[in-house]
């Protein structure tokens, strides 16, 4: 018997409207079976960045500490707060400072948004640096992840440059002289240094041209580059089979006679085959839905709650308006360049260009110098003592220089006791 259908009336269409709208957007039910959990990765636009399954070791907080995710979320916070601030900021030498005053005084939530932006920026520089340390100390740059490491170093440089360009925008004494110092250091590069400085500043000294160029770099060029690099960075993680982890233990000896068959479906099977694996497969992976998602959510909420609390308690600095006749004494670069500035005080070329250049070059070459494959996936693996020691000492040295530059240098860059 053919099923009879109710005649369709306008009223029924109207009554069904909300449900129809919802169903047209969310076409798949909330997952409750493994198949549904697997399919979230290709039924949802945002979730298709996730693999179907992740190794459960990579989700351990103590392993990655979520630093990479934190850096990404900080970037998202920076973009959102940055765009909001763009509605009130004007990159003009005559108006910029006044606009900062207005953001502080009259714009609703102006102070808070600016604080969020500033502290997120500082946090991001610190976090990406720590992330780099984590990746090094867990040997996660080794084959096949070399290029991802290179992308990471590039991202570090872009992050530093983003922070540097943003630093100038308030156009107060702190900003102006920090950038004057920073760009002067860049000018020490051999052959191209002065040309580079001129192109960067749009003029021989920091002024309206520099402000405009830094603004465009900061809001358009560098964020686009960063997004592109981050996208490739994430793509690479997927292609490399997920985050690095200890090598899987040997499968257990088969039971006498009984062979448990297990089928595991994998998307990567499409690409590399086999599509399914049979036999005793070590199963230390878990579904992305909901485990990876919850991990990401947790890192996000943690990040934003820290940023919110810090922004509530501490105000971003706004010092005197720019006075080109009156450099502060001492004039200090932003903290992440203070190590450089300390070294520069010993030798302009070696401290500003030579050694930093060498260090960056070495960073890029790390995975090509270290071709061993052991010690991946765990912290301070004994097999990697040499590499870890070298890297750690570089880090500590850098921190020491930054500390000296921050606390122990006073007027005329003389040594002072800060306490």
């Amino acid at each position: 018997m053919t099923p009879t259908r109710e005649p369709r009336t306008a009223l029924t269409t109207l009554r069904e409207l909300p449900q129809n709208v919802w169903n047209s957007i969310f076409r798949n039910p909330l997952p409750s079976t493994d198949l549904e959990r697997s399919s979230t990765s290709f039924t949802n636009f945002f979730l298709h960045i996730h693999p179907v399954k992740v190794n459960k070791n990579t989700l351990r907080p103590a392993y990655t500490m979520g630093l990479g995710l934190m850096a990404t979320f900080l970037f998202v916070i920076l973009v959102v707060t940055g765009v909001l601030l763009m509605f009130y900021y004007v990159p003009s030498t005559t108006q910029a400072y006044d606009r900062m005053l207005d953001l502080r005084g009259t714009v609703a939530f102006g102070i808070f948004l600016r604080n969020m932006h500033r502290w997120s920026a500082h946090a991001m520089v610190a976090i990406v640096f720590l992330h780099m340390c984590r990746v090094f100390f867990t040997g996660a740059y080794k084959r096949p992840r070399e290029f991802n490491w290179v992308l990471g170093v590039l991202l570090l440089l872009v992050t530093l440059f983003l922070s540097f360009t943003g630093y100038l925008l308030p156009w107060d004494q702190l900003a102006f002289w920090a950038i004057t110092v920073g760009t002067s250091i860049a000018g020490y590069a051999p052959l191209i240094g002065q040309q580079m400085k001129f192109v960067l500043l749009g003029d021989t000294t920091v002024g309206q041209e520099a402000l405009l160029r830094f603004y465009v770099l900061h809001v358009a060029v560098l964020p686009s580059m960063l997004v592109l690099l981050v996208a490739i960075h994430f793509w690479r993680i997927r292609k490399d089979g997920g985050l690095s982890r200890p090598a899987t233990p040997a499968p257990p000896a088969p039971d006498s006679g009984v062979v448990k068959l297990k089928k595991v479906y994998g998307l990567q099977g499409f690409v590399r085959g086999p599509f399914t694996k049979l036999g005793n497969v070590p199963d230390d992976s878990v579904f992305s839905w909901p485990n990876l998602l919850m991990a990401e959510l947790f890192v996000f909420v943690l990040t934003i709650s820290l940023i919110l609390v810090v922004s509530l308690l501490f105000n971003a600095p706004l010092e005197q308006p720019v006075n080109v006749m009156h450099p502060p004494n001492p004039a200090k670069a932003p903290w992440y360049f203070l190590g450089l500035q300390e070294m520069v005080s010993y030798s302009a070329f070696w401290g500003g260009i030579g050694i930093p250049g060498l260090m960056v070059a070495l960073l890029f070459l790390v995975p090509y110098i270290d071709r061993t494959t052991h010690g991946v996936g765990k912290w301070f693996a004994k097999e990697r003592l040499l590499a870890n020691t070298i890297f750690l000492s570089m880090v500590i040295l850098n921190v020491i220089f930054i500390a000296i530059g921050t606390f122990f240098r006073g007027p005329n860059w003389s040594l002072v006791w800060p306490f």
């Binding site: 006044d98 207005d102 009259t106 959510l297 509530l312 006749m325």
Partner: protein, 587 residues
């Protein structure tokens, strides 16, 4: 992980809530609400009370650009009562800004009038501070990064404790007065004066340069010392010269506190620029100080002549060999106008010719007297003119045009316009006696002067004939008697005037305007323009009969139609009463 997640989420919520709440209940909203409350209880009438009831706090701004940079002053957001005299006894911030004669304020009709209006000056020009700030800490410049704290009221936290108390006091504000009031010996800035004297008496000028005052090269240039440094730095530099530069060889002069204070105020006033000098000031100085130097004892007439030349009267008028081509010829003014007329006309030209475009110059009364004396002395008549054509060309054509079409050189600038003799029927429709009278006595309230003292009777008649023949191209006709009353049969009364006004509104104001000033909407397209009845000189000079004739029969050669079929004689009489009711008072 769920627990930390929940905790972190709640922290996020709490911070959002706190930040959100902080955006309301600002300090300034509380102050403004208090002001509105109190002003409401003080208000004297319902209208004021109603306005205050609907008023809610908002950010108040004064934006001033006349002092170099643009100042955006939001001080009146909290100090909302600064210009409300009723709050003189209240506590800050709801206190009226004080008035004082030292600041140039005057009392008029029992009310104080501020010389330095807030809308012209803002607040920070005199008081410093951060105009854009809306919290006390930032707005008053207590933030040590702000270069201009409230002068004399605020000391910043990082100032030396041994100086800070000495840097407070209203006298420090004199430094800002001197930004404009730069003259020596200005009564309002005694401390600046004392400081200036000390600058010389203690030999500061030997080492330090200040533009316009000294040329010393051994010490720093102090021309902009007030702009560059705060008062604590200035104080310290005087009492402890080596505090900021260990290698300085500036002596310690062991000055007393009062002297140091005077020097600090003086130096703080050195900003390198005088805002008060504008081109308007320079012009006023020029006018007031007389580019014309009149030797004392010069007779009024000669002085007047000098003034006339200097004040550019001949930019419009004609006199001697100069002719601006815009206004009447003054060559025979002594014959045409008297002292009284000239005096009134100078002070306000529209008091004699209501639609004149001559500006009311604000010269001193003395200058007007001298100019009048000079013009009245111009009594030399023109050489006797033989023929009518020459007479017309020399005396009449300036306004009436060489072709008698009312398009003379200056005709455009004269209101009512000079008569166009070529308009058909006009000349022929009036009795000759009227025109003779117009020439001899002039036309009241217009630029047509009385020529009888210049032209003899036969000259006048000759000119009239010349006009009829060459321009009007018509002959005087024997006019049919018209049934017009000699005098207004309707007596003037409040009722008659009210009726006349009603008729006027209904019939006349399309051309003559609602205010009967000849500026009705249709008047733009009409030439000659509709008559301005507010010109009382004119209205008084014409008899009732003429008004009746114009209204009932219309005026040939103009756009004034005949109203005989629409209005009865009595109605016309009412309208005439209305027209005559204006005198000098506006409706």
């Amino acid at each position: 992980m769920r627990l930390p997640l929940a905790i972190a989420s709640l922290v996020v919520l709490i911070v959002h809530g706190v930040v959100f709440r902080n955006q309301f209940f600002h300090e300034w909203e509380r102050h403004q609400s208090a002001y509105i409350e109190q002003a409401r209880s003080m208000s004297k009438n319902d209208r004021e009370r109603k306005e205050l009831e609907t008023r809610s706090p908002r950010i108040e701004q004064i934006i001033v650009s006349s002092f170099g940079d643009t100042h955006v002053d939001r001080c009146t957001t909290c100090h909302i009562a600064a210009d409300d005299p009723r709050f003189a006894g209240h506590a800050e911030p709801l206190k009226t800004h004080p008035y004082s004669t030292a600041m140039g304020d005057v009392q008029r009709n029992g009310q104080w009038e501020r010389r330095h209006k807030f809308s012209d000056f803002g607040c920070t020009v005199c008081h410093d501070g951060e105009g854009r700030g809306l919290e006390t800490f930032y707005a008053h410049g207590e933030d040590e990064f702000w270069p201009d704290p409230l002068t004399g009221f605020v000391t910043q936290a990082n100032w030396r404790k041994d100086f800070s108390p000495k840097l407070k006091g209203k006298e420090y504000m004199e430094a800002n007065c001197a930004q404009c009031h730069t003259e020596e010996g200005f009564a309002g800035t005694p401390h600046v004066e004392r400081g200036r004297k000390l600058f010389y008496a203690m030999n500061c000028y030997g080492c330090h340069k200040i533009d316009g005052m000294s040329e010393g090269t051994l010490g720093p240039d102090l021309t902009e010392a007030g702009k560059k440094f705060k008062v604590d730095y200035l104080w310290e530099s005087i009492v402890e010269p080596r505090a900021n530069l260990a290698t300085s060889f500036m002596p310690d002069f062991h000055l007393g506190q009062a002297d140091v204070e005077a020097l600090v105020i003086f130096l703080k006033s050195r900003r390198g620029v005088n805002f008060a000098e504008t081109s308007l000031d320079r012009y006023k100085a020029h006018v007031a100080n007389v580019a014309v130097v009149i030797p004392p004892g010069t007779a009024g007439e000669k002085a007047g002549q000098q003034l006339l030349g200097d004040r550019a009267c001949t930019a419009c008028h004609k006199l001697g060999d100069r002719d601006g081509g815009i206004a009447p010829d003054l060559s025979y003014e002594g014959l045409i106008r008297d002292d009284q007329w000239l005096g009134d006309h100078f002070v306000n030209p529209r008091s004699r010719i209501p639609d004149s475009i001559m500006p009311a110059f604000r010269f001193p009364a003395e200058d007007f007297e001298r100019l009048s004396a000079y013009l009245v002395s111009l009594k030399t008549p023109p050489p006797p003119i033989v023929d009518a054509k020459t007479t017309f060309t020399n005396l009449c054509a300036r306004c009436h045009g060489d072709k008698g079409d009312g398009q003379g050189k200056v005709a455009w600038y004269i209101d009512p316009s000079p008569r166009d003799f070529t308009k058909p029927c006009f000349m022929a429709s009036k009795p000759r006696s009227r025109f003779v009278a117009s020439i001899e006595e002039g036309v009241g309230g217009t630029s047509m002067p009385p020529w009888k003292r210049i032209l003899k009777e036969e000259q006048i008649n000759g000119v009239l004939d010349y006009v009829m023949q060459n321009f009007a191209k018509e002959q005087f006709k024997e006019l049919r008697a018209r049934n017009i009353p000699e005098k207004n049969p309707v007596a003037s009364s409040v009722d008659s005037i009210a009726r006349g006004e009603q008729i006027f509104e209904l019939r006349c104001n399309g051309c003559h305007g609602r205010k009967a000033d000849g500026k009705g909407p249709n008047s733009l397209d009409i030439f000659p323009h509709p008559r301005n009845f507010r010109n009382h000189f004119f209205v008084e000079s014409v008899p009732d009969r003429r008004l009746f004739e114009s209204i009932e029969y219309g005026v040939q050669g103009t756009a004034m139609p005949s109203w005989m079929d629409m209005l009865s004689t009595n109605e016309v009489g009412d309208v005439i009463n209305f027209i005559r009711s204006f005198q000098n008072t506006p409706k």
